[in-house]
Symmetry: C2
Subunit: 190 residues, 2 copies
């Protein structure tokens, strides 16, 4: 189970065996059933999740009462609500499993402890965060530069058959359009 994570960690920073063992000792393997919540709105997010297998989505209900997906998390991603996790403030979003999902949980207190004990993990999490930031910037570019149809086409191109694993209404809101319009786009492309 830790093998997946080990190869992931070593891709960015080289860790010694004892450092890895200490890190792994802080992780709690957990399984969430489909539709189960990893984090609920208003809670303070005290966990960093490494997804071993499955899919989650970040979502919240906006001012007009519509559910809006802001992000997906899949296999081999570290995910958390950064704002809530870092600042220990109430979350403005839910994190919910879209499939049965296996994760490794790192508590905020363990996270802080690891960073103090093994500075290399500062490096590791800096790099992870940089990648998340770069992805976020690309998302903004897509939202502002591409038409809805282009965003859809691009999503399919980049993620392959991932779209078949998620409810279409979540994808619509992720792409920033209505389910009806996404449906129309799909019909046009056939």
């Amino acid at each position: 189970m830790f093998e997946i994570l080990k190869s992931y960690l070593n891709r960015y920073v080289h860790f010694e065996e004892n450092e890895l063992l200490f890190f792994f000792s802080q992780l709690k393997p957990t399984v969430y059933q489909k539709k189960e919540f990893l984090l609920k709105k208003e809670q303070i997010c005290s966990q960093y999740f490494f997804i071993l297998k499955g899919v989650v989505h970040f979502h919240h209900t906006n001012a007009n009462g519509k559910e809006h997906t802001t992000m997906y998390g899949i296999d081999k991603w570290w995910v958390t609500n950064y704002d809530s996790f870092i600042h220990q403030t109430p979350s403005n979003i839910n994190i919910q499993a879209l499939e049965d999902t296996e994760v490794l949980i790192l508590d905020k207190s363990s996270f802080d402890k690891i960073l103090i004990n093994i500075p290399k993990f500062e490096r590791f999490f800096r790099i992870i965060t940089e990648k998340a930031y770069i992805a976020s910037q690309r998302r903004i570019e897509h939202l502002t530069q591409l038409s809805t149809e282009e965003r859809y086409t691009n999503f399919i191109k980049e993620t392959g058959n991932f779209a078949q694993r998620i409810p279409q209404y979540t994808l619509a809101s992720y792409l920033n359009c209505t389910p009806e319009f996404l449906s129309t786009i799909k019909a046009l492309k056939k």
Copy 2:
């Protein structure tokens, strides 16, 4: 000149005097005139900028030949094109001064050297990056959840009179609308 940066650094991580001196020794004070480029598209971004005073904007020309501002940088911000800087790949955007702008420049090679010599800076840049990421996430929320008018009102509320320091057509593209429409919105709000 380094006093501003010193108080900024110590806000996030406590540094010893000698660590700060080493860090400062790596920085190159520079002034860019209004309209001068800090980075041009296609160049590899090899510099991290700390803005002491002034304003810059990140922009590029999109497929339809329109200039698009993706981000502003102001006093006391660390800015760079992360994607280009981290991966040492050609930049897809320009960084250009909107006013005469004083910066401290940190080269990629110095950046790498500092991180190796003083691991505390890993912590510092992790925290900086987390903040940039959180801001980026909030920007996505605004783009997807708010109307153009709400985005404008919100921008004014959050930045005060900053809007008066920048050309309105750059703000229009930052808010993801046309200059004409932004002009209409402003007229409506009087």
